[in-house]
Amino acid sequence: MADSLYVHVPFCRHLCYYCDFAKRIYNEELADQYLDQLENEISRIRQDHFDTVYIGGGTPSALTCRQLEKLFRMLSRFTVGSEFTFEINPETMTLEKALLLKKSGVNRVSIGIQTFDEVILKEIGRTHVLKDVDNTFRYLKEAGIENISIDLMYGFENQTVNQLQCDIEKAVKLDIKHISIYELEIHEGTVLGHRGYRNCSDNDLYLMYRTVRYKLPCYGFQQYEISNFAIDGYQSVHNKTYWHYNDYIGIGLGAAGKENHVRYENTHSMKEYLAGNWRKEEIRLGVEDERFETLMMGLRLLEGIDIEEYNETLSCNILEHYREPIEKNISNGRLIVDSGYLRLSDTGIYLMNDVLVDFMVWL
């Protein structure tokens, strides 16, 4: 039984220049066909309960109310244990949609804000303006959805550490419970990649991340993962399924899942997907794959990995199995074993990839 279900809605009103997810410009007819196919995929799922459901994109809020109603009707066969999240882009939000979300059982939304700097928003192809953000919050409040998370980014080409501080100060004034904040990644095949857009300097990226880690807790947002901060009691249950590397099902274009020691990914081709050829690849995970991947995901959590649980699930003694890299990284101050948990130290967090590569080289 998988703990979580991810549903991908690959439509957007506009494409952001940095995005490398599976997405298409919204088209009503195509979206209808897509939902039909999604229904087929849902009908294959052999369980009726999930602890969490997450509808992400693309832009799920780009769908019309009629289409959203259809989507929620399709999902209504599942009971949701704790968290039902829906992703929103401010410019596509209406009061009607907010009320529909509430009615359909959604109890958490995640809003893509990225930055409050309108010059940068334009630079990265975001079409919302700050008024849209205000409106979205108004609609959600009226609908009674209070568990709100926002996405922010930093590391834009000409951004300064000061500008990022302004963003943080604006963000924490919003009525929100959770912040995900990511360094901008520039991928090949995106508009930014094509234009030769660059991150700000390496040193500034470091300073910005440090700023984020020290500033947000001052406003009550405690860091619980590399890029995630929450008010007490509002950590994302859904995302923790990933970081605990429990089983999750992914449906829709380009979605990924992991069930019964198989990691899989759906096709990114709309044509293939609509033809019913959803699955692109399946990788059967060997025991060493799972041991490493569990580590790679688990160390992202600040609390770290529950050693006893790890040993039991993966039938090995982690401290023995990875003795050399663990000892090396404890001695250089990047890893800590404490109260039954293996976790990154405060400096280790900045250099997590080096730690992971040590584990990889070891095998």
Binding site: S4, Y6, Y182, E183, E185, D202, N203, L205, Y206, Y209, I226, S227, N239, T241, Y242, Y248, G250, G254, A255, A256, G257, K258, R263, E265, I283, F292, E293, M296, M297, R300, I349, Y350, L351, M352, N353, D354, L356, V357, M360, V361
Partner: protein
């Protein structure tokens, strides 16, 4: 075959002037090779040669030609390598001939390489027949080429055939001219055997196959033979000619060119230029001109993966079977682990060997910067030959260092005199001569340290003359120079594989360029790394590689596992390709940084 019906000749030409194409046409027109069997440019055996359009291994083909005079002649076409590294081999294969066909490209005219080889031919008393090639091209200027041959080389070109080797035009006249003008061999069939070795290659079934020209006497299967340079004796098991496939015969007669197999185990025993004689009835004197080959350029070759050290040794041994001029011995570097110090005839030879190791033996190699052989004169009067800067004795022990000098001849359009002279001056050149060949071209002669040529001279020359200059050089001896070892220190530790020997005048400049390059190439690590260049313990240049402080994946959710893991794999691979020097990891390119010194 009576000697008067034998013609032995080579074709000499600058690279790309059409030597191999003409050879192909000659084989076709004498029906030696049927057209349908023609692989373009049959004399170039190795793939690598065909790709680079240059000939490395020598080869000889026998062919029968029925002339317009009604007689059938036996031609031996002896191929020569076409690069400055192989001058000695060229001269030995020319010594196997009585004549040479000089191919001049009607679009390019005479070039430095052409001159060098023509002079070699003339030194060997060959009759040189000029032919003007590529007359089918719209840009051909045959009269200009004719003028240059007469003016620059001093050969009569009034009757030089105008040909297109590509189309076959004029090739018949070339064949007739060979019969008419190239002298027949005039050895003494009754004299004791004197056979000139001009090539050899290894055959795993029969041992070394030796290519020879019978100068005097004759040789038969079963004869006991002696190699005169080392006195070793063997019994001839097989001999014959090539056409171009091997054809076995019972004997090779006076004036002929062919091959001999005598169960010789190693090409090292068979030296180009040596004389073969009969053990029972030896000749009095070896043929003149024999010289032992010397490596001009050395570099360290290391497997990227230390576990492949034995594979590299096996590969070098196999290459050496066919290439006696390749030298190697084991060496260890703190930075690079176990590898080999290899000696080459020149830069091209080095490139070719490296490329063959990587391509044919599937090895990933790190090559250190090439070095020449220095003569180190010690305080106590001893002289050491040093081919690896890392093992140079300490400064206190050294009286002085001498380095090899070459006479470099550069031919170029006269518009480039300025840049060429500036380049030569910057490379410590000593001006010798400048000859105006005609209205448009000059011949510039400088004496230059070989180390500067080895470094990046040729690339610089090409770029400052838009590719129009051609270069030839010959070793002229050792000269005392103001040289010192420059150490490169990374994080305070000298890296042996990066040490180089520099002239004091250029030490500062070279030091700052290398440190700057290394700063670009060595990735940031988790601590700041000083990079220093030092001469005699004194730091002359320094930069710092700043530490990186963040290396963490911003995002990793359920859909990212595959991709993010691949990203980590990539970081892991990157790390594997680095060589750890102390606590610093240095990528392979760093060891080549001392090579490319573009001041960008």
């Amino acid at each position: 075959m009576e000697q008067k019906y034998i013609r032995n000749f080579s074709i000499i030409a600058h690279i790309d002037h059409g030597k191999s194409t003409l050879a192909d046409r000659i084989l076709e027109q004498t029906n030696t090779v049927q057209q349908r069997d023609m692989v373009s440019q049959i004399l170039d055996d190795l793939d690598l040669e065909r790709e680079r359009g240059i000939t490395i291994k020598l080869n000889a083909v026998s062919l029968n030609y029925t002339s317009d005079d009604g007689n059938t002649y036996l031609f031996h076409l002896i191929d020569t390598p076409g690069h400055v590294d192989f001058t000695y081999e060229v001269s030995r294969s020319l010594a196997a001939c009585e004549g040479a066909v000089l191919v001049v490209d009607a679009t390019q005219g005479v070039e430095a390489q052409t001159l060098a080889n023509v002079y070699l031919a003339i030194d060997n008393d060959l009759t040189v027949l000029p032919v003007i090639n590529k007359i089918d091209l719209p840009s051909a200027m045959p009269e200009m080429a004719r003028h240059e041959i007469e003016h620059d080389i001093g050969l009569d070109a009034s009757n030089a055939p105008l040909i297109s080797a590509k189309l076959g035009t004029g090739v018949h006249q070339v064949l007739e001219d060979i019969v008419k003008y190239i002298p027949a061999p005039n050895g003494d069939p009754e004299a004791p055997l004197q056979a000139l070795i001009f090539d050899s290659y290894y055959d795993s079934y029969r041992g070394v196959i030796v290519a020879v020209r019978i100068k005097n006497g004759e040789i038969k299967v079963g004869d006991n033979i002696t190699l005169m340079s080392n006195g070793q004796s063997y019994q001839v098991t097989e001999l014959g000619i090539r056409s171009p496939k091997e054809i076995n015969k019972n004997k090779l007669e006076c004036g002929e060119v062919g091959w001999i197999a005598a169960s010789i185990k190693s090409v090292k025993d068979v030296r180009v230029g040596d004389t073969i004689t009969l053990t029972e009835r030896p000749c009095a004197e070896p043929l003149p001109g024999y010289r032992q080959l010397q490596s001009m350029v050395y570099c360290g070759l290391y497997p990227t993966d230390n576990a492949r050290y034995n594979d590299l040794r096996d590969a070098l041994e196999k290459l050496q079977l066919n290439d006696a001029s390749l030298k190697f011995e084991a060496e260890t570097s703190q930075a690079l682990g176990f590898g080999f110090r290899c000696g080459f005839l020149g830069l091209l030879h080095m490139d070719v060997v490296q490329e063959r190791l990587e391509r044919e033996y599937n090895l990933d190699l790190i090559a250190t910067a090439p070095s020449v052989v220095y003569e180190v004169h010690l305080q106590n009067g001893d002289v050491q030959l040093i081919d690896n800067p890392a093992v140079l004795p300490s400064n206190q022990m050294i009286d002085y260092i001498a380095e090899p000098y070459v006479k470099a001849s550069i031919m170029a359009p006269k518009d480039y005199i300025g840049p060429i002279m500036e380049l030569c001056q910057n490379k410590r050149g000593i001006y010798q001569d400048i000859i105006y060949m005609d209205d448009s071209r000059v011949f510039i002669v400088y004496e230059l340290p070989l180390s500067e040529i080895v470094f990046d001279f040729f690339d610089k020359l090409k770029s400052c003359t838009k590719g129009y200059a051609s270069l030839d050089y010959e070793l002229i001896g050792y000269r005392k120079s103001e040289l010192a070892r420059m150490d490169i220190l990374i994080n305070g530790e000298p890296v042996d594989a990066l040490a180089c020997i520099v002239h004091s005048k250029f030490a500062y400049q070279r030091g700052s360029t290398i440190t700057r390059k290394l700063k670009e190439i060595i990735p940031k690590q988790q601590f700041e790394i000083p990079v220093q260049a030092a001469v005699s313990g004194k730091v002359i240049a320094r930069t710092n590689i700043k530490a990186y402080r963040k290396n963490v994946l911003a995002k990793c959710y359920g859909g990212d596992v595959s991709r993010k893991k691949k990203l980590l794999e990539k970081q892991k691979e990157g790390k594997k390709r680095m060589k750890a020097v102390g606590s610093v990891e240095i990528p392979q390119e760093a060891f080549m940084a001392v090579l490319s010194m573009d001041e960008d």
